[in-house]
């Protein structure tokens, strides 16, 4: 199984899409997950969202 995986890697790319695009361009089997940090990483907004989760 390990050998098979190394022979033909299956890739899940999380976040920056350009890694996925580069892999696809080279014929790799990649799946892209469009993940972004909550509130784009805006700490003030993350704190407000956490506060509202308690209501």
């Amino acid at each position: 199984m390990t050998v098979e995986l190394l022979r033909k890697p299956k890739i899940i790319n999380v976040g920056a899409r350009n890694f996925h695009d580069s892999l696809k361009a080279q014929g790799a089997d990649s799946v892209h997950v469009d993940w972004r940090p909550p509130a784009g990483g805006d700490r003030e907004m993350v704190a407000l969202l956490d506060k509202l989760k308690k209501i």
Partner: protein, 413 residues
Amino acid sequence: MGKIEEANEEAVKKILEAKPVAIGVKKARDVIPGMTERMLLHAGPPIEWKQMSGPTRGAVIGAAIFEGWADKEEGAVKLAERGEIEFTPCHDHDAVGPMAGVISPSMSVYVVENQEHGNKAYCNLNEGLGKVLRYGAYSAEVIDKLKWMEEEMAPLLTEAFKRSGPIDLKEIISKALHMGDECHCRNVATSLIFLKTMIPHIIETGFDGEVISRVMKFMGDNVLTFLNLLMPACKAMLDAGHGIEYSTIVTTLTRNGTDFGIRVSGLPGQWFTAPAPTPETLFFPGFKKGDEGRDIGDSAIAETMGLGGFASANAPAVVQVVGGTPQDAANYSREMREITVAKHTSFTMPFMNFEGTPLGIDIRKVVETGILPFINTGVAHKEPGVGGVGFGLVRAPMDCFKKALKAFAEKYG
């Protein structure tokens, strides 16, 4: 279940229960709450003359000439500069207006009633495409058409509505969604169903045959005839869910060509604004990139209701205007699921296995995911006096939602 979830469930329940029907055509001054004689309603959040976009200024000039407050452009501009015209958002008067959305006291408006909750909504009559007031044009031909609409079209519709009784707008929208309309930029099916419904009553009025012929040709040629009924229908439904304590549901998305504004159910009486973005545009022949104004109009009430860009899967032809594919159209609808709390029970998408359109934009989800509401829209020339330049696609700006979230946390947190 937390208080916010309970409140959002109640807001969505009321929006879904709402039953908007068209009950007539009346003069704005006679029916719009708070309308006074030197007042002009406009699209979007509040704005004063100095900050107004080109198309809104153009529509103000045209409306002042139409009302007889000024003979020509210079006089109208002076009135506006001297503060002799009161400007106020349509939304603050239970009304909506496409593009510049300028409604003056003598204009006729559709009256829509939500039979379930009793609230009403109003919208002017659609003038067609191109050189028209709502896109900021105000030449003699624009004013002449507005006068003709008041002299022939509005009286005929007024009499026809007396005979038709209430026209069920929700039913028309539901049917049209299965006929290729997304009900914002594409209102072909809605307009045809509405005209088909009204024609017997129009004939029953006994008006002169030539008048009926002119009005029917005008309304039949105009693929956006129903837009000005769809918008107050959406307004009437969404207002039913407005003003619910603890609700984070967006009840208005709108623009005035300068600012984009939103209203939130649990924060009544407040606008949250950010600079209006510029739509990605497919231009009409004769126009080019750089001609377009910034995003404008109350018509994003369609997206607020889960139609338009949110129902993109139903109308790939609209996405095609900027080179998109049917798959892109479906993806826009899928994406909007991420920022909404429910699916509509009457408005469905055949190409998504009859799934309900995404309904109930939650400010928390928009801020958390970074996914912005997707809007199909008409695009006006950036200068006053020109008119429409094309159709486009645009996203609401994030800052509106961040400001609303802050205000919400201050009030309820």
